[in-house]
């Protein structure tokens, strides 16, 4: 049997594998796995690493996550309050930027790796690399410069500043967030992360009009990615659709992996990528709370039939809600392993 890294490499190179790679993004579920509250769980990188390894072994999927929760990035930029729920992901509980003046005061740490908020994640990454390095890809999650302000000032204020200015202040903030991104991506690469999920809802025309994408989103994405390059980078718009910008992303940014929205047409996405990269079909995992076994299997089948022919395809989930029953996770995965098989083609 092949391992996750071999399957992923085969998908990237378009060579043969036993089946398509399957990425199942279980985060908060790790707490359940270890019998801890979500707050206790995220206090330690050892917890997260252990649960990531255990869940991967238990379910047999192909990825490991160094991500705790997205709000951690705000902690690196000064947020000191995280709100924990008993049955859902932690959230940013304090806005680092409360008023416009706070933007000039915002400081991007020179060395992210020495920041206390990064220490546990680094610990987690080291364990994952030591235990599974080279066998299962270790994924890191990074928020694009244009989306980062949502975590620092809230989507509401950010949307207002992005659309209505003042433009000078907006650009000052974006410059800092892009600097932060560049440092973060370098730190993750140095720590051995294999897959770098580049998250940017503002890279989707569900969020901004096409002209805005061309004139503003693209240049900031170029700024984020230019220094470090696009090796291992995955284009992801936080589950918003992006088939209509794939061509531009390939041409202008050179990214080679596309983590579609569940609302994107997989076959269409794959046709646009046209062998120049890996297309990831992503299930609407919120429905795993409701669907029957038959419905889950039918959906997985539909998705894989749309994306598998010709290879260079991966099956994935979004951020799996905490309340999804284990049985439904298994049903989805078993269907993905079954329909995703390459029978001596």
């Amino acid at each position: 049997m092949m391992n996750g890294m071999e399957r992923l490499t085969a998908a990237i190179n378009g060579t043969l594998a036993d089946r398509i790679p399957v990425f199942c993004n279980l985060l908060d579920q790790g707490a359940k796995e270890l019998g801890l509250s979500i707050k206790e769980y995220y206090a330690s990188g050892e917890h997260v690493a252990e649960a990531q390894l255990r869940m991967r072994a238990k379910y047999g999927y192909d990825c490991l996550w160094s991500l705790f929760y997205v709000g951690k990035e705000a902690e690196l930029l000064g947020c000191r309050k995280i709100i924990y729920a008993k049955d859902g992901p932690p959230n940013v509980g304090e806005m680092v930027i409360k008023k416009n003046d706070d933007i000039s005061r915002l400081q991007v740490p020179d060395d992210i790796t020495s920041h206390p908020a990064f220490a546990e994640e680094l610990k987690c990454l080291r364990i994952l690399k030591a235990e599974a390095g080279g066998k299962y890809p270790v994924c890191a999650y990074l928020t694009a410069s244009m989306t980062m302000p949502a975590l620092l000032m809230g989507m509401e204020k950010w949307m207002q500043m992005l659309m209505m200015g003042p433009a000078g202040l907006r650009d000052e903030l974006l410059t800092k967030c892009s600097d932060f991104f560049q440092k973060q991506v370098a730190a993750y690469r140095a720590a051995g992360a294999d897959v770098l999920v580049y998250s940017n809802p503002f890279g989707s025309t569900d969020f901004i009009p096409r002209t805005f994408f061309d004139e503003i989103s693209l240049p900031w994405m170029e700024s984020d990615l230019a220094p470090g390059g696009t090796a291992g980078v995955v284009y992801y718009c936080g589950s918003a659709r992006f088939n209509d910008v794939i061509e531009s992303v390939i041409q202008n940014l050179g990214i080679g992996v596309f983590y579609l929205s569940p609302m994107d047409d997989i076959a269409e996405g794959k046709k646009i990528v046209a062998g120049r990269g890996v297309t990831c079909g992503v299930i609407n995992d919120i429905m795993l709370l409701e669907w029957s076994k038959e419905e889950i299997r039918a959906e997985v089948k539909r998705m894989i039939e749309a994306g598998k022919p010709g290879g260079k395809f991966l099956f994935g989930t979004l951020v799996m809600p905490y309340a999804i029953p284990e049985e439904n996770i298994r049903t989805m995965l078993e269907a993905a392993y079954e329909y995703g098989r390459f029978d001596s083609e």
């Binding site: 729920a85 049955d87 859902g88 949307m159 207002q160 659309m163 025309t205 009009p209 429905m287 309340a323």
Partner: protein
């Protein structure tokens, strides 16, 4: 002439150009178009036109929703005091995000659209406890409680819409107050509103205006 104003205003909205939209309105006033006409013949139809493009699947982005709501509510704030007589209010709504949820953008867009449609909106803010939704709805004599949630656990959780429904039932006011819900989880699961006890949901801020107007009419009937 009014038609031309409407076209120009619509174009500005779709281009997310606030300054141009406000300029169009001010130029219109200078041409002796009345404040009433600005609101009812320009701003409200622009929102309706947007609903039409959405239902025809012509892709209206979140930024365009945001700007449409923002500009509409600014124009309405500016025009209403200039009306010859106070406008007729269609109904009253209290709106907030569910307990444990600090995501306010959806609420703001919805509130802006409601205001432009002459619905009185009381904004209860973020992280609103279920009891407070009901208390405030009764205090403001609101026909609709509008609850916005961005995460699955705040949409489905025991302190969200489900609890609001239970309190309405306990207090025997279910025929007086309806619940509208919305936010990301409802877009991923269009049946979710039912299982949490909502009366209706809407996919975006613009259609929220229509859905909530229907609920108000139902209560007032």
């Amino acid at each position: 002439m009014l038609e031309q104003v409407m076209t120009q205003y619509n174009e500005a909205i779709m281009d997310t150009d606030r300054d141009r939209a406000l300029q169009v309105v001010h130029d219109a006033l200078a041409l002796e178009i009345t404040p009433e006409e600005v609101v009812f013949e320009v701003v409200v139809p622009a929102i309706e036109l947007m609903m039409k493009s959405i239902s025809e699947n012509q892709g209206v982005s979140l930024a365009q929703h945001f700007m449409a709501a923002q500009i509409a509510s600014e124009v309405v704030d500016d025009m209403v005091p200039r009306f010859r007589k106070a406008p007729q209010i269609i109904g009253r709504v209290v709106i907030g995000t569910s307990q444990g949820d600090f995501h306010g953008l959806g609420k703001r867009i919805v509130a802006g659209c409601l205001k432009a449609m002459m619905i009185e909106v009381t904004d209860l803010g973020l992280n609103v406890a279920p009891e407070r939704f009901v208390d405030e709805a009764l205090a403001h004599d609101a026909q609709v409680i509008a609850i916005s949630s961005m995460m699955i656990h705040t949409a489905r959780g025991e302190n969200g819409c489900r609890r609001v429904r239970q309190i309405l039932k306990e207090r025997g006011v279910e025929d007086r107050i309806k619940i509208a819900v919305g936010g990301a989880p409802y877009r991923f699961d269009p049946e979710l509103y039912r299982s949490v006890g909502g009366d209706a949901w809407a996919e975006n801020g613009i259609t929220a205006g229509r859905v909530i107007t229907c609920l108000i009419r139902e209560v007032r009937k």
